[in-house]
Symmetry: C3
Subunit: 222 residues, 3 copies
Amino acid sequence: MGENSSSFLRSNLNSIQQIIKIMDIQYPLELIGTFVFAISGALAVRDKEHDLFGAGFTGFITAIGGGTLRDVLLGSYPLVWIGDVYFLYAILLGVLAAFVFPRFLIKLRKTMFLFDTIGIGFFTVLGVEKALAFGVRPEIAAIMGMFTAVMGGVIRDTLVNEIPILFRKEIYASACLTGAILYLLLNYSGLERDYNLLISISVIISIRLVAVKYKLSLPRLE
Amino acid sequence: MGENSSSFLRSNLNSIQQIIKIMDIQYPLELIGTFVFAISGALAVRDKEHDLFGAGFTGFITAIGGGTLRDVLLGSYPLVWIGDVYFLYAILLGVLAAFVFPRFLIKLRKTMFLFDTIGIGFFTVLGVEKALAFGVRPEIAAIMGMFTAVMGGVIRDTLVNEIPILFRKEIYASACLTGAILYLLLNYSGLERDYNLLISISVIISIRLVAVKYKLSLPRLE
Amino acid sequence: MGENSSSFLRSNLNSIQQIIKIMDIQYPLELIGTFVFAISGALAVRDKEHDLFGAGFTGFITAIGGGTLRDVLLGSYPLVWIGDVYFLYAILLGVLAAFVFPRFLIKLRKTMFLFDTIGIGFFTVLGVEKALAFGVRPEIAAIMGMFTAVMGGVIRDTLVNEIPILFRKEIYASACLTGAILYLLLNYSGLERDYNLLISISVIISIRLVAVKYKLSLPRLE
C-alpha cells in the first residue's frame, strides 16, 4: 500500500491522522501497557492464598514476562526493564494501584479488560518490530510478537498453578498471531508503519473482542 | 578404542557401516526428530481442554524446549530454530499431522513411542556434542545432553499442569544421562565418532525400551 | 557510615572482626550454600512419587535455579555452575547426602532450616553485588539479589506442581528484598563491605526467623 493506500483508508485519513499522533508517544504507551499488565497480574491472584508480596511478584512477572522471554530467546541484552528502570516504576505503580484500589479496579473490570486487550495488540506488534530489527526471519518475528503479548500471562498462570490462559480462553494468543502475520504481510507490501500499526493492532483487538462477546473458540483436537 | 576397537565391533563392521551412512544425513534426522517431538507434544494435550491452537503451541514447546534451554544456558546464539527456519516448518508439519490424522497417529502409538525413544537418544548425543564444541567441561556437557532430550517434555508438562514426565515415568531422563556419560567416556577413549554415536544412542534406546517393557523404575527416597 | 561507623559497631568491633574472617572464605561458603540448597531440594520431593533421579534433579534445580535465572536475565555468561564445575560437585554431594542419610537429615530439620535461612541471606547479598558489578541500577540489583535467593525454590515448586513457597510461606522473599535494599542503602552511604554483608545478611535471617517463630505473614489483598 503506502502510496497506493486504499480509498477506504484515504476517506478516513483525517480521523486516522489524529489517532496516529498516538504513535509519536510510543514510549509512554509502552509504560502504560506495562502498568496495566502489572495491575491485571496483581489482581489475578486476589482470590488465592497470596499475600501482598505474592500479588506484587505476580504483577511483576505478568508485566515483564513476555518481553523478557522474547529478548532472552533473541539474545537481546540488556533486557528492556533492566536497561530502563522506568518500566520497573510503571510496574510498582500498577501493583500499588492494585493494593490501594482493588475494589475500584475490579468494578472497572470492563475498562481493565479493554486496556488489557489494547495491551496485547500493542505489544504483539512492538514485539514483531523488535524481532525484525534484530534480523530474524518474519516467521520467527511473528512468534516473537505473540510471545511478547501472551507469555507474561502464561508464566503467571504456571506459577500460580493454573492452566495457562492460552489453553483456556476464547481466542487469545491466536488473535495475536493473526495480527502479527497481518503486520508482516502489510509491512512487506510496503504500507507505511503508522497505518500498519493501526490496522494490525485493531485487527487483534477486534478478533479478541468478538471472540469474548460471542464466546468463540477454536475447535478442539478430536 | 578407535584403532583398538573391540573384536565384537569388527565382526559387525559391515552391518554397522551400512547403518552409519545414516550419520551423513544428520541434519535431516534432526528435522525428523523435531517433527516427531512436535506430533507427540500436540497429541499429549488431546484429552485436555485445549483447542487447536493450544495443541499447536504445546507441540512447538515440546519440540524446541530442550534445545532452547541448552542454548540459553550456554549463551549460544542464535538459537537453533531462530537461526534456521526449517525447524519451524518441521514443527508446523508435525502439528498439522497431529490435527489431520490424530486417530491414525494414535493407532500408531507403538511406532510413535519408538520414534520418540530414538529421538531422545539422538538429541542427547547431539546435545553433548554441541556443549563440548562450546568448550564446557564434560560433566556439564552430559547434563546439557540430557536437558536437550528431556526438557521440552518437562516444560510442556509444567505448562499443562501435570507432574513432569521426568518425575513419573519409568527410567527416562536417567537413560539419557547414562548414554551421555557413555558417549563422553568413549569419546575420551578415542573411539571414532560414528561408532560412538551408534553405541551411545543404542544404549539409551535399549535402557528405555527395557525399562518400559518390564516397568522398571529407580527406587524412591525412603 | 564507614569512617563514621556508629559507636554500637565500634564497641562490638572485636567480635565482629572475628566473624568477618568468614568473608575471606566467601568461595567455600558459596559451595556450602549450594550443597545445602541441593539437600533441601532433594528432600523436598521425599513424600511425592519421585524416584532417586527425580529427587536429584530437583536438588540440582533448587541449587542452581536462582543464580541461573539472575545470570540469564543479566546476560552474564558463562553461568556460574557452567564455568566452575565445583558447584556441580557440591550439588552431587548434597543430593548424595539426601539419598544416604535422609532420616538423619530430616531429624536435623531445625539445623537444615537454619542453614537454608543463612543461605538465602547470603545468596541475596551476593546476587546484589554481582548485579551491581554488572553495571545495573540499584533497583534492578535488589530484584536480582532476591531472585538469586528464592527463584531456585520457586522453579522447584512449579516443576513439582505445588504453589511456590514464595506465595505460601511466612515472610520469605520479602525478607530477602528488604535485606537487599538495606545492603544497597548501606553501600551507598559508604559502609565498608564486610560490615555491610554482616548487617544485611543478619537482617534477612532475623526477619525470616522471627516471621517463622511468630507465624507472621504479610496481609492479603482484600
